[in-house]
């Protein structure tokens, strides 16, 4: 366990942890405004990447493919809220029914993409190319990693500022604390719900352009990060945006460290072990607060 290997583990852990943290943030904005755990977040990410690959293969410039992918996926996220989730909430459907509908959306998006686009994984080039930087003797960083660190910091900062300063962001926060009080001071719950799903979709759609260049993008790309994202959220807790950030980064670093220093069977189980540990000892998450359940 040399210093170089520890630094490398930290850098790689923070890189995948940033992806988990951003997906956890996209679950977070939806869960605080609506109480819904939207399974499909990973799928919006996948759709954004697939759209990007498709636009690039049509010969469109990178910036247009980037914007097109993100706008397309966000539109789908808002459409799912309008067409499926709003009618269910209006009818006050039970938790079980809502969860099943969300799972149905996830299946339709995932396997629908598989049927339309095909089942092959394709590479998605990163915004900063594929340079490798050498720090010290044995530590390497991709240019994409810097994009990931920078984008994560920027997105978290803008979401926090938006929630504190803008009228819509404040509506979202008051709805999280007390929906009835929110209605009494003139907040339109339908707007808040749509904004929450749209923002969640937007964050997930941006994550595609951070995550997919590390590997490739195919119709199953959203599955694992989608699950790790909500595990990270429950580890961190839903009391403030710090929860998804800490949960995601901690999960990422622990996974990479376990993969580096322990047999692979432990590395795969670390997310579950961490989640169980947190749920039993601190059900409101590491950054717990008044929203404990």
């Amino acid at each position: 366990m040399t210093l170089a290997s520890v630094v490398q583990v930290l850098l790689s852990g923070l890189q995948i942890g940033s992806i988990y943290a951003l997906l956890a943030l996209s679950y977070y904005v939806i869960i605080i405004a609506t109480g819904i755990l939207n399974f499909a977040q990973g799928e919006w990410m996948m759709v954004s990447g697939i759209l990007g690959v498709t636009f690039l293969s049509l010969g469109l410039p990178y910036s247009i493919a980037f914007c097109g992918g993100i706008v397309g996926a966000t539109t789908l996220a808002i459409a799912a809220e309008r067409l499926v989730i709003r009618p269910l909430q209006k009818r006050q459907a039970s938790e079980a029914i809502t969860l099943l509908a969300l799972f149905g959306i996830m299946l339709v998006v995932r396997y629908g993409t598989g049927a339309i686009h095909g089942r092959l994984d394709e590479p998605l080039p990163g915004p900063a190319g594929t340079h490798v930087f050498r720090l010290g003797s044995n530590v390497f960083v991709f240019s994409q990693s810097f994009v990931i660190y920078g984008a994560t910091a920027a997105i978290f900062l803008s979401v926090v500022l938006w929630m504190r300063l803008s009228w819509l962001g404040r509506s979202l926060r008051i709805t999280a604390i007390d929906p009835l009080a929110a209605v009494l001071v003139g907040v339109n719950l339908n707007t808040v719900r749509m904004v929450a799903f749209g923002l969640g979709g937007l964050i997930a759609a941006i994550v595609a352009w951070l995550y997919a260049p590390l590997f490739a993008v195919g119709y199953l790309t959203g599955a694992i990060p989608g699950i790790k994202g909500f595990i990270a959220l429950f580890i961190g807790g839903t009391s403030s945006p710090l929860g998804p950030l800490v949960g995601g980064l901690l999960l990422g670093v622990m996974e990479v460290a376990a993969a580096r220093y322990l047999p692979s069977i432990y590395a795969e189980g670390i997310a579950f072990a961490l989640l169980m540990f947190i749920l039993f000892l601190r059900p409101s998450g590491l950054i717990g607060g008044r929203r404990s359940q």
């Binding site: 079980a96 149905g104 169980m276 039993f280």
Partner: protein
């Protein structure tokens, strides 16, 4: 729960029983392909009925049913293949093993509620899938376990037809046990713990223990289904542990009607047989199931049992009107 039962259709009940008897014997005249469908239906029914027992009757939102099914299947296969245990003996090892696993995991998990319970159990089922995939020589990893020794009876290997009778017997036992449990004092304790845990506790019931016991019983049925799966197909791979299965079974329960045994049987039969008959089973089953999930939750949230109940009510009120 509301649903069709013997009281709603008193005159048709003996007739329905005879009809069901004839229908259940039909697969004995069928070819190997249709026999496989029938056995698969029996296994799926055991799973959906036991899932309904936990989710519908006891109101616990457990998403780990596939983990108990898969563990039952894998324990049976490993004992039979690597330790050369008799398949019948495997059943008596797999069921207690899975029941113990359910008790161990249920002890802390049944404390959780709602979304937290769903997330924890879903994570558990993912964990089991990963564990089996990484299990090395013991579980065969992604390749799985092939050539499990077949079950024998009186020295002869069980044919597909006798295996169908075995699966059918297991299914009928499952229905009878769950129905009797629900009709007993324990059944009323289950309902009380679901609807009013504080009142139940005041009446001397331990809601936590009741919920845990329900989970252990349901997991044992899932283990039986896993045992049947292993010794019918004689091969096993980690696909049987994919967490998506829990949602598919849960969907069958919901289409039938949460909490109703008759509804769950009808819903499972509908969703297992219709894809086979329409022929889209091979291509886009999962996509079609996803579309159906959204459609049912939006337009028929009370499921088949709810629809039939409304229909029976409409018919009887028309009769009274005359």
């Amino acid at each position: 729960m509301r649903g069709i039962n013997a009281a709603t259709l008193p005159r048709f009940y003996p007739l329905a029983l005879v009809g069901a008897g004839i229908v259940t014997m039909l697969p004995l005249t069928a070819d190997a392909y249709h026999l496989t469908i029938a056995i698969n239906l029996c296994i799926t029914l055991i799973l959906t009925l036991s899932l309904n027992f936990v989710v519908g009757n006891s109101g616990q939102f457990h998403l780990s049913h596939v983990a108990f099914f898969g563990t039952g299947a894998y324990v049976s296969a490993i004992l039979a293949k690597q330790y050369h245990l008799s398949p019948w003996l495997c059943l008596f090892c797999a069921v207690p093993a899975v029941a113990m696993l359910a008790a161990l995991i249920g002890l802390p998990i049944t404390r959780l509620k709602g979304l937290y319970l769903a997330v924890a159990t879903l994570a558990f089922s993912l964990f089991v899938e990963v564990l089996v995939n990484q299990g090395g020589a013991l579980t065969g990893g992604g390749y799985g376990i092939q050539d499990v020794p077949a079950a024998t009876m009186f020295g002869a290997r069980l044919s597909a037809k006798s295996f169908y009778l075995l699966a059918l017997a297991a299914l009928i036992m499952t229905i009878l046990i769950i129905k009797n449990l629900l009709d007993s004092k324990f059944g009323r304790e289950i309902i009380a713990s679901r609807d009013h845990p504080n009142a139940a506790a005041a009446a001397g019931i331990n809601p936590a223990a009741t919920k845990l016991l329900v989970l252990v019983i349901a997991a044992s049925f899932a283990a039986v289904a896993g045992w049947l799966h292993t010794f019918y197909y004689l091969t096993l791979n980690p696909v049987v542990l994919s967490p998506e299965w829990t949602f598919v079974w849960f969907f069958m329960v919901l289409v039938g009607g949460l909490g109703s045994i008759t509804g769950v049987v009808l819903g499972t039969m509908l969703l297992t047989l219709v894809p086979e008959l329409l022929g889209f089973a091979a291509g886009q089953t999962v996509l079609v199931i996803g579309i159906l999930m959204i459609a049912v939750t939006l337009f028929a949230p009370r499921g088949l049992a709810g629809l039939l109940h409304d229909l029976a009510k409409a018919v009887s009120s028309e009769r009274k009107g005359r």
